[in-house]
């Protein structure tokens, strides 16, 4: 078992990376009071945009990730137009975006079904990667994994320590009060939603250009939904979100190895395990109703009309 550990840990980090990007983006959007159920759709749009850009230009991930981010942001802007400017129901707009994203990515993806991309080579961090057992697992990853850690640090720091973070919380908490003291609520929410879209796009592009560098229809496979659930169960806190993402990644890799070892459990059941385990654990740790209510952005899901 100990032999497997570095492998499993290494896989965990990579498997958690899309969830971290998508989850952090959704967390920021929800902190501003907007629930965007279109994460799954934005991930798929980002995935196909990133894949297409990487395949057409031949520059790989370096062009794939920004392309995915742009596409995700554009999709989020469309969502924002309906849900924010026109104050339509956020849940309905988000669901529509997801359905649209599934369809659009499948349509564009027809041309890329047999393509595959080179992917990325891991970068070993000197010294740290020489630590026995854990070193190669944690410090020999591709650069997008490191980028996800940077993104986490930036988002956590912004939310906790800066005026912008405070403003996001304020807008999500009481948009009327924020408006009364003179803040542009709708513009701030647009910013948060578009940031969320860009992050979901990066998550999708990571899946299609790095994690499994070939195009498969519907390849996000529900990770967008897990990201949405993670945000709620993490009680809108970035650190808890990371824990949830790594748990999901860990169980994902674990069940792969279990399949490889030929354990007598149907493959479908094993494949469902990460989703199940993540939800169960998160529900358990977020059982405290007071904690949930204290952190819940009070205006979440409610349209704001100035």
């Amino acid at each position: 078992m100990l032999d497997y550990l570095p492998l499993i840990l290494a896989g965990t980090l990579a498997a958690a990376t899309p969830l971290i990007f998508a989850g952090l983006g959704e967390l920021v959007a929800e902190r501003s009071g907007v629930i965007n159920l279109g994460v799954e759709g934005m991930m798929l749009i980002g995935a196909i945009a990133g894949f297409a850009a990487a395949a057409e230009t031949g520059h790989g991930v370096a062009i794939g990730l920004p392309a995915g981010a742009l596409a995700g942001a554009a999709a989020a802007a469309v969502f924002g137009f309906f849900a924010l400017s026109l104050a339509a129901n956020q849940a309905a707009c988000g669901l529509a975006l997801t359905i649209f994203g599934i369809g659009l990515s499948a349509f564009i993806g027809q041309h890329y079904v047999s393509y595959s991309l080179p992917g990325l080579q891991p970068i070993a961090i000197p010294l740290l990667s020489d630590i026995p057992l854990l070193g190669p697992a944690l410090f020999k990853q591709d650069w997008v994994v490191y980028l996800s850690l940077v993104a986490f640090a930036l988002v956590a720091w912004t939310l906790a320590k800066t005026r912008l973070g405070l403003l996001l919380k304020a807008v999500g908490e009481a948009p009327d009060a924020a408006h009364a003291i003179g803040y542009p609520v709708i513009a701030i929410r647009y910013g948060a939603v578009i940031f969320g879209g860009a992050m979901a796009g990066i998550a999708g592009a990571y899946l299609s250009t790095v994690y499994t560098p070939l195009w498969v229809q519907n390849m996000s496979a529900g990770r967008g939904w897990i990201a949405v659930a993670l945000v709620v169960f993490a009680t809108w806190k970035p650190t808890r979100l990371m824990l949830g993402a790594y748990l999901f990644g860990f169980v994902t890799i674990l069940q792969f190895h279990a399949q490889g070892l030929g354990i007598e459990v149907p493959v479908q059941l094993l494949a469902a395990l990460p989703y199940l385990a993540t939800i169960v654990v998160l529900v358990l740790i977020s059982r405290d109703r007071k904690l949930l209510q204290l952190n819940l952005p009070a205006s979440l899901g409610k349209p704001f009309l100035p």
Binding site: T162, A170, E173, A174, G182, R289, Q293, L294, A298
Partner: protein, 513 residues
């Protein structure tokens, strides 16, 4: 030397909304260091005028002069830059943020919470408004929240401070403290616009007053030289109506008994009830004073049956009803008029006759389980006529009625159910003076027919006008009710601040000696 310029001068301000003219040709001026009252009833256009000054609403026409120069204020940020600060009636605070975070959000300066916390402490102590900068706002009392708003304005070095109905949520002692702070600010040259409908406050605090009615200025006055009656005439156009409390001669027996009711609130922003005991007899009105958020919502839920409690904790006419839900309690003669008229007392979009059905269906408005609409309509018509509800008829949607008229309808609907016990929350909140007097008289008359009435209100004057006995609910604990003749605003105010139990003197900022 030329005469000093007014700090703020408004000339011919008008603002129209689709259905009403909120401000019609309003002019006024405020000098540096002057405390200027804007006096008027709900709906007189005071708040709209203040929002225009603060840049939150744009006037249709008119001019504004600031220190003699013409200005147009496009948004609150610009108003703040000029030196205009506003303390809102419904606070513009963020509950889950700390005091210092709330303040940082309105300041135009580099983000430094630690440095700001020190300044908050300094300013709050200098003006006698003690505050802990690191507490989260949801854990503060309403009086403390108001301090946050005021300190927030003071940190911006305002030249003009606008206060919108600032005392509606304060204990009498807290009001005195606020007045001291305001006088001190005025002596330092800050102009103050003080919006209120409370005549005695304006008389004791303000240097001058502009009186508004129906969006127009109906007079300017020096409040010290006027009497409340003359001010009231300018404000409502006639004499202030007075209620009469005739004596009760019927049998006295307990109708509502609450026995050692404790209830843990499951809302993190709520207040738990501790050992509440209370008796309301037939033929009397018991008033419960106190500032909202001290367990009022929880007590009302436990009494109305929205939250069920221990069977033996609530008794109605000798029957234990604590375990019964709201419908079963109503079956037994308990009626409840909630604080929120729209959404809880009545369905906003439904016409009045359908709203009558909500609680009136017990009065034979069903036949074989089907609704007898003709009866509901007759019931609504009768209610409208008997309680002087001004509306287009039983088909009028509840939300089309003014606050006062809808309240008359809801109270009337419950009275027509011939209750044994009526529980009323904030009976005249947001209701104009005329309708308030009518409602108070209606409650008095009802009690004298042998009905027991429990009134929970933030308006002390109202409770002193109609209650036979007054108790205070503070921090989830209820004081022993005192006969009205023995109670006075001073002692009730102290109890509201929570001084009848140990500790918890937060409201006044002074520990008892």
């Amino acid at each position: 030397m030329s005469p000093p310029e007014p700090r703020l001068k408004l000339l011919h301000i008008s603002k129209r909304y689709p259905s009403v003219v909120a401000n019609d040709d309003v002019s006024l001026s405020v000098m540096p260091g002057e405390i200027h009252a804007i006096l008027g009833e709900n709906g007189a256009g005071k708040s709209t005028l203040m929002k225009i000054i603060y840049g939150a609403v744009k006037a249709d026409s008119g001019e504004m002069l600031w220190d003699g120069r013409q200005v147009t204020i496009a948004n609150p940020a610009q108003a703040r830059k000029l030196g205009i600060g506003m303390v809102f009636q419904h606070f513009s605070l963020f509950e889950t943020l700390s005091v210092v975070e709330n303040i940082a959000l309105v300041l135009d300066e580099p983000f430094d919470l630690a440095g700001l916390a020190i300044r908050v402490k300094e300013v709050s102590e200098r003006y006698g408004l003690p505050l802990d900068p690191h507490r989260r706002v949801h854990s503060l009392s309403v009086g403390e929240r108001q301090r946050v708003e005021i300190v927030r304005c003071l940190l911006q070095d305002p030249k003009l401070l606008i206060l919108d109905e600032p005392t509606s949520v304060l204990t009498p002692q807290a009001v005195q403290k606020l007045f001291e702070t305001l006088r001190r600010l005025a002596s330092e040259g800050v102009s103050i616009l003080y919006i209120s409908h409370k005549l005695h406050e304006i008389k004791s605090l303000c240097d001058s007053a502009t009186i508004m009615r129906g969006g127009k200025v109906t007079g300017d006055a020096i409040p010290r030289d006027e009497t409340p009656a003359t001010l009231a005439r300018m404000m409502i156009g006639r004499e202030l109506p007075v209620c009469e409390a005739p004596p009760y001669h019927g049998p006295v027996h307990p109708v509502l008994q609450v026995e050692r009711l404790s209830l843990a609130s499951d809302d993190p922003f709520g207040t738990s009830l501790h050992n509440v005991s209370l008796t309301v007899n037939a033929g009397e009105i018991v008033g419960i004073a106190g500032i909202s958020g001290n367990g009022q919502a929880e007590l009302l839920a436990a009494l109305s049956g929205e939250t069920t409690v221990d069977r033996e904790a609530v008794w109605l006419a000798g029957e234990a009803i604590g375990h019964l839900d709201a419908g079963r309690r109503r079956d037994r003669g308990l009626v409840f008029v909630p604080e929120e008229r729209l959404g809880r007392g009545a369905v906003p979009a439904l016409p009045l006759d359908r709203n009558a059905l909500l609680t009136g269906h017990r009065q034979g408005m069903k036949r074989w389980g089907l609704v007898a609409f003709a009866k509901a309509q007759a019931f609504a018509e009768q209610c409208i006529a008997r309680f002087d509800v001004r509306c287009s008829g039983p088909g009028a949607a509840a939300r089309s009625l003014s606050g006062g008229n809808l309240q008359k309808f809801i109270v009337g609907r419950e009275i027509m159910l011939a209750p044994k016990l009526m529980i009323v929350a904030q009976p005249t909140w947001g209701v104009d003076v005329g309708a308030s007097a009518f409602l108070r008289q209606t409650l008095l008359d009802l009690s004298r027919t042998g009905v027991a009435i429990l009134v929970i209100s933030e308006e002390l004057e109202e409770l002193f006008e109609i209650s036979d006995r007054i108790a205070v609910l503070a921090a989830g604990r209820l004081s022993a009710p005192q006969p009205r003749e023995q109670a006075d605003a001073e002692s009730v105010g102290l109890q509201m601040a929570g001084l009848f139990n140990e500790g918890n003197a937060a409201e006044t900022g002074h520990a008892p000696a």
